[in-house]
């Protein structure tokens, strides 16, 4: 009985799960060099007919050869080969066809075993053929010596009988066949290994289930039932709800003046200035790319008549601290470390003053408020160095849920920190990262990413000496090591991440998921919890009433 939808002419199912594609024209049944292997398999198929499996209907490829059949057969019919084929269990459970096809159900150990076994047999056969040819030539030489004829006569006999030529022909033809056999095996094994490395092995039921979930997610994300204008209208109504509940303390006009980016796709136009708080600038830029940016700012910030600002941190939270930021605090500060050399540095600090980030006033207020909340004053020097998630969590409080993945690790043996990049994450963390990226929704997520630290081992070959940057993985774009970037969006269809460098957020950087994983070392994201947000705001309204 042949399984529905399964063709033996295309597929040779060898054992439990091993699934090797062998085009029929390439199979040489009953030939000297492969006959034993084929026969043994054929016999196994025939034996199993009773269990519902039919022998493969291979087409024979005609071949002509003067090879010493018995000798080569003896090699290829070695007990090891026969024993091996007999050990291979047969099954009538054909893996269901899946997208991609190749590689499904292949067990890596079996591939390696087949590869190794073929190599061994080919090597043995080659050696035996060589021995046979050498031995034949020796016997001819001994016979010629024994009869002691003149050289000219021996030469004539050789030419007439062509005996040495035949031996050479045997060797050449045997060599060609063995090379073909090895190439075929290498091709099949290579294809299966490639399929395995591009597709993780999963149990069939899980694969089906994941496929279903993936399609469902695709439909959810891309095939929206309501048209875009209706959805946009709904978002405006959501904002109106917040306004109606009296929760937006800043007017629309003020928002446009102090916050609104010119281009929503680009987010706020920022540049970091001369303070090392790239993580904060990246976080603020990522925040500005969120459709919730307006609500967040308008509900938590207010400009007072004297020009100062009130900022409630965490933003949108019922129990936030009110931070006051004056115009003086937004201006440049004298650098207390001017001309001093920091421990571990060679050069003195040449910055006379420390400036806030460049951008609209409102977002500069947010930067200052974060620093003041954390350090008690707007101490820009103290704010140098940190993590994007720290800023987002501090600003968002319990309205934000944190998602953070970091590939940096401490090697206890070497007593060093290593920065291998996101590509080195263990399987479970990588699956989580993929999940976040594949489901990245700017309406819900706000995220930053940190590049890998300068590490001559892990960044070997990528560092551009003298410039202090390194080349991204599989891209000509360069990145600053140990630097935070904002994620302004994800093109899920093309698996492309849009990032911005806090040095100039107007320039978008695009990386594929793989390039991103090879270039960056960490991802810091938060998700906005609308229920908590509305609940908190509702409580604020009640307490204010």
């Amino acid at each position: 009985m042949r399984e529905e939808g399964f063709s033996f002419e295309q597929d040779l199912a060898v054992d439990d799960g091993v699934h090797i594609e062998m085009p029929k024209t390439e199979i040489i049944q009953n030939d000297a060099y492969v006959s034993t292997y084929d026969k043994a398999l054929d016999a196994r198929w025939k034996e199993s007919e009773s269990s519902g499996i039919t022998a493969p209907n291979w087409t024979l490829a005609p071949i002509s050869i003067d090879a010493p059949q018995p000798e080569v057969d003896s090699v290829l019919s070695s007990p090891e080969l026969v024993a091996h084929t007999e050990q291979l269990p047969l099954t009538n459970e054909i893996p269901p066809p899946l997208v991609g096809g190749e590689g499904v159900g292949v067990v890596p150990e079996n591939i390696q075993e087949i590869e190794k076994f073929t190599e061994e047999q080919v090597a043995t056969a080659t050696l035996e053929v060589e021995n046979f040819v050498s031995s034949g030539a020796n016997e001819v030489a001994l016979a010629e010596e024994a009869i002691a004829l003149p050289d000219s006569d021996i030469q004539e006999v050789r030419e007439r009988t062509g005996i040495l030529g035949k031996l050479e022909q045997i060797r050449n033809q045997a060599s060609v066949l063995l090379v073909k056999l090895r190439d075929k095996t290498t091709e099949i094994v290579g294809r299966e290994i490639a399929a395995l490395t591009t597709k993780p092995q999963k149990k069939f039921d899980h694969e089906k289930e994941n496929e279903y979930e993936r399609i469902k997610g695709f439909i959810r994300n891309y095939e929206r039932e309501n048209v875009a204008p209706v959805i946009e209208e709904a978002k405006r109504m959501r904002n109106k709800i917040l306004e109606e509940r009296g929760l937006l303390q800043m007017s629309q006009e003020d928002y446009q003046t102090y916050f609104a980016p010119k281009d929503f796709e680009v987010g706020a136009e920022l540049n970091q200035g001369n303070v090392g708080d790239c993580y904060a600038v990246a976080a603020l830029h990522a925040l500005s790319c969120s459709p919730n940016y307006e609500i967040i700012c308008r509900s938590s910030m207010k400009k007072l008549p004297d020009g100062s600002w009130e900022v409630k941190i965490p933003l949108l939270s019922e129990n936030g601290d009110v931070i006051n930021i004056t115009q003086e605090e937004l201006g440049p500060q004298k650098n207390a470390q001017f001309l001093k050399v920091k421990e571990g540095d060679i050069m003195p600090d040449l910055r006379y003053s420390l400036k806030s980030l460049g951008g609209k006033e409102g977002i500069r207020v947010l930067e200052a408020a974060f620093i003041k909340k954390k350090f008690g004053s707007v101490d820009r020097l103290a704010a140098e160095g940190g993590w994007g998630s720290e800023v987002l969590e501090s600003l968002g409080g319990d309205n934000f849920k944190k998602y953070s993945i970091n590939s940096n690790k401490y090697n206890a043996d070497r007593k060093t920190h290593e920065h291998p990049g996101l590509v080195s994450l263990p399987a479970d963390e990588m699956a989580f990262l993929d999940h976040v990226l594949e489901n990245f929704d700017p309406e819900v997520f706000i995220a930053t990413a940190a590049t890998r630290f300068m590490d001559t081992k892990t960044l070997s070959g990528q560092v551009l000496e003298g410039i202090g940057v390194y080349k991204g993985k599989d891209t000509m774009q360069v990145f600053v090591p140990g630097h935070a970037y904002s994620i302004s969006g994800v093109d899920k269809k093309n698996r492309v991440i849009k990032l911005a460098n806090p040095w100039d957020t107007t320039k978008s950087i695009e990386l594929t998921f793989d390039q991103f994983k090879g270039t960056f070392g960490g991802l810091d994201a938060v998700r906005i919890d609308n229920a908590k947000l509305l609940s908190n705001m509702s409580n604020i309204a009640k307490s204010g009433a």
Binding site: R220, R224, E225, N226, V227, P229, V230, I231, E232, E233, A234, K235, M237, R238, K240, I241, E244, R245, P291, N292, E443, V444, R527, I528, D529, N530, A531, K532, L533, L534, S535
Partner: protein, 90 residues
């Protein structure tokens, strides 16, 4: 007059509240008990200006924080809703 119209919309959404929450529950695999139709918010229920004869209602999921839009064709004469559609909006 405006208030009367608004109340009429609220009433029909109340009539279809179960269908609305079930629709979201089935599409997004969430529990209906976590869903709140924002009937009492002035902007929680409205007639779309973008699409003719379409009633929109916003629904909040208290469990996961998502907000959904459910829209439906509104037949004012028969006071019925049909052709429900839903999306996540925030």
């Amino acid at each position: 007059m405006e208030n009367q119209k608004k109340e009429q919309l609220r009433n029909i959404v109340r009539m279809y509240e179960s269908e609305i929450t079930t629709l979201i529950s089935q599409k997004y695999s969430v529990d209906t008990k976590d869903l709140v139709v924002l009937i009492n918010d002035e902007s929680g229920i409205y007639l779309s200006k973008e699409e003719k004869d379409t009633l929109c209602t916003l629904v909040l999921n208290n469990e996961n924080g998502y907000m959904y839009l459910v829209s439906a064709k509104y037949n004012e004469e028969e006071n019925t809703l049909s052709d429900f559609r839903s999306d996540v909006i925030a």
